[in-house]
Symmetry: C2
Subunit: 269 residues, 2 copies
């Protein structure tokens, strides 16, 4: 398949996925009794949709399709960009900060990036404020089941990658309970794309399962305090280490769209 | 003078300055009618003193004297550390986040760093939430007056350096109203040290002047909201760009001491 066609197909998929995820979140707001919907913000290279709901206190679902050039220093580290530093990228990013401290924060991204090479990347991870081993097991079981349909090597590999990536060395803490994370996936385009689509669908379904279960749970002031401190760690990770943030700020991305991942509020002791 | 003696003298000065700054802040709390004092936290390479007061909602005054080795990649960028990557450093860092949104946040640092070379660095800057041109002029006038006593070239040079340093490119915003900033100062040790001491004394006095004037001012919910959003920008700057934060996290610093600069809370839209 020509690269032009691959770009077209992936872009169309990401647009479809963005709609599905927004719909699922709006459904949850509706179930909760809220009428709040996403606000759409369009910009040159895509759109970022923001919700300030009663279930999701601050959530962002961004679709982007950026065509540009990497700064030269940055390009050196990117496959296929050493000699020619231009790129094409498209993807969907989601960050959800629920109001109820018992509901974990969730993050998802899948993307297709083309330089002189072309690959998929992405993943999802979950950041609870309050420990819940049953929930943790369920989430990882779902992710394993989905991965195993494609290749039984994927889950252990991508789980480990996620654990290593979402780690705060200065705190000696993980960001949350992990999930899956992969990058530079360029084994077999058709199979890779099927996998990427499955990651997206699985996330869209997981949101409903995770949030619906706990959105009506009662919480205390102390739970809120724990959530705000945990959100502080989230901010530290995203600004100190996250490659997506660095990639975005280095590739002429829209800073409002990139920093959409920031929680609505946070605390530091 | 032998480098050993220089290290001893500067270290003693930084300890004295730390005490003076803490005292001045505790005096302000007292004037306000609060009995809150600094809590002292000692660690291997120094101490960081924290206050959660009624005037200063969250403030940190840290003294450090770190002896260590830079990671090799990091060392390449440091004068006198290319071949031998060990260093000796001592300094005082201060970050003050006042409760009243009408009182600006303040930041100060002076340090003496020895590798195969030895230099002073530091500065101070002020971050108001609400515009006040009279206050801005007064602060810069004080800084200019102090600088001019040493060298009339200092103020314009270090003011510019400060403006360039405390800038958020992704927001196209300055952090605040600036101040002065200098680094790699190794012209004449005796004169440089006199200047560094004067910067410290001036800051210790400025705290009193700036805070005392406004600590009793009334403020609205909207003022608080503006302050919390501004604190979000403060977090972005410190985690994305601040060299002190990077230096600290890269040189085996105490992350609690380094991230003492984080505000007590912050918001993102």
């Amino acid at each position: 398949m020509e690269i032009k066609v691959k770009k077209k197909i992936t872009k169309e998929w990401f647009i479809e996925l963005k709609k599905l995820i927004c719909k699922n979140i709006e459904d949850l707001e509706k179930e909760y009794g809220s009428k709040i919907k996403f606000k759409r913000n369009k910009w040159k290279y895509g759109e970022f949709n923001k919700i300030e709901g009663e279930v999701i206190e601050k959530g962002g679902v961004a679709f982007s399709n950026v065509i540009g050039k990497f700064p030269k220093e940055f390009a050196k580290k990117i496959p296929g960009a050493k000699k020619k530093n231009y790129f094409w990228s498209s993807g969907v990013s989601v960050v959800l900060h629920p109001k109820n401290p018992k509901v974990p924060a969730m993050h998802f991204n899948t993307r297709f990036i083309c330089t002189q090479k072309a690959w998929f990347g992405g993943g999802m991870d979950v950041t609870p404020n309050i420990k819940d081993n049953i929930e943790k097991k369920k989430i990882h079981k779902e992710l394993k089941k989905m991965c195993d349909k494609h290749n039984t090597k994927f889950y252990p590999k991508y789980k480990k990658w996620c654990d290593q990536y979402f780690y705060l060395p200065h705190r000696n803490e993980t960001r949350g309970i992990g999930g899956i994370f992969f990058d530079y996936k360029m084994d077999n385009w058709d199979k890779d794309f099927l996998f990427v689509k499955d990651v997206g669908i699985t996330f869209a379904n997981l949101i409903k399962k995770i949030v619906r279960k706990k959105m009506f749970f009662k919480w205390t002031k102390k739970d809120k305090e724990i959530q705000l401190l945990k959100r502080g760690r989230y901010v530290e990770f995203n600004l100190l280490y996250d490659r997506g943030t660095k990639f975005g700020l280095n590739s002429g991305g829209n800073s409002d769209a990139i920093l959409m991942s920031m929680p609505p509020n946070a605390k530091w002791k």
